[in-house]
Symmetry: C2
Subunit: 260 residues, 2 copies
Amino acid sequence: MTKNLNASELRKLIRSGEWKTPTSGVATGYVQANLVMLPEEAAFEFLLFCVRNPKPCPILDVLEPGKVEPSIAPNADLRSDLPRYRIFRNGEMEKEVENVTDIFQDDMVSFLLGCSFSFENALLAAGVPVRNIAEGKNVSMYITARTCVPAGRFSSPLVVSMRPMTPENAVRATQVTTRFHLTHGAPVHLGSPEELGINDLADPDFGEPVEIKHGEIPVFWACGVTSTLAATSSPLPLVITHAPGHMFVSDLRDEDLTLL
Amino acid sequence: MTKNLNASELRKLIRSGEWKTPTSGVATGYVQANLVMLPEEAAFEFLLFCVRNPKPCPILDVLEPGKVEPSIAPNADLRSDLPRYRIFRNGEMEKEVENVTDIFQDDMVSFLLGCSFSFENALLAAGVPVRNIAEGKNVSMYITARTCVPAGRFSSPLVVSMRPMTPENAVRATQVTTRFHLTHGAPVHLGSPEELGINDLADPDFGEPVEIKHGEIPVFWACGVTSTLAATSSPLPLVITHAPGHMFVSDLRDEDLTLL
């Protein structure tokens, strides 16, 4: 049933407090997004970071200071319409909360960045199985030895998500995800994890490990968690992000993202 | 001979004052860019304008305040390496100059935005004739009745460039330019100019008119001139742009832009 909710209906459930769990696999076909809110004073530099690192931080929407209604979801309120948020002060995580209406400040700028849930739907539609979905787990994510291009005070290693596949499906997945440049695009790497500085695929930095079957290779995509690491790489007085897996669900349709 | 110059050689000729003419058709295969320089105080809002209007204003590079060496052309200097610039004060064009080393201020942010010269090469390579190149003219450009999404103080109508083609070539051109989302991507319109608020194709707002042959339809792409109109839509004390046709030639190769 929840699969068939539309984005607006799901946001209503979230805002009223009836929906408190991750947004993976619900409101299928609607584009979900990573959220970063930070002070206006740092907004140009953070926007620059995203522009310079479009694969991990593809920009879906940026709001003017103090605004909370995104253009990709009219009538939504970014302070209440995600199921869970993280509050960072001076670069350190303070707590998780379900609503930031009383915490958000009028000088804050909100960024919505693409998320891999969109291309996972496209992979399934193309007949490419997605292991983390099959196993009902959070995707495995790793902090790599590659560094993003810094911008002003912001820097971060590249974070990747990994999905194991047959070589044939890795080719098909590359074709499919190339069309989705606003949700991380084509893989950044496939095969040897050592090349990315990853020592043990069974021990991800975020999410959960999944089974890698005989004959499969790991396929790596740039991951939106990079944006959280970047936003908290400098000790800003206040940064608000979504909690992992608890994304903002927009009114955009996955297929809208392939329109150039 | 000039066709075979590489980007760095061409920039050297420009910097020394030996090259003062438009950059169309030279250093073939290197990505050329529109330039906008404006005060840091307005940089976030202008970057936001570009992010919200990616078809007319695709971002190739944005520099930190006071910097003049772009990442897409190491050792270049944006103050001297374009053949001609326009200086705007309080929203009004003051003059054109060949060098802005003495005018550029340390609080200015430089934006490099994609330009259609890249996809014209790709069209020719795909066997699609480009009328303005065949006639040796500047492409025809028109201010449309469509408005861009505003950001802060910046707004602009959408400016388009037009190339007449057979319907078959219009399809091929759509396929080819879709791959180049950082140089305006697929057409924004084809056929009836009235739909865009264009009354007379023979009377373009910028550039020159070209012949439209029997059986051809006009094909319209978003145009980088939009960025100049937007940057000067607010009376900023100082804005510097390239002069039309006198672009910045980067070290990026056209094909680099299709890598996602």
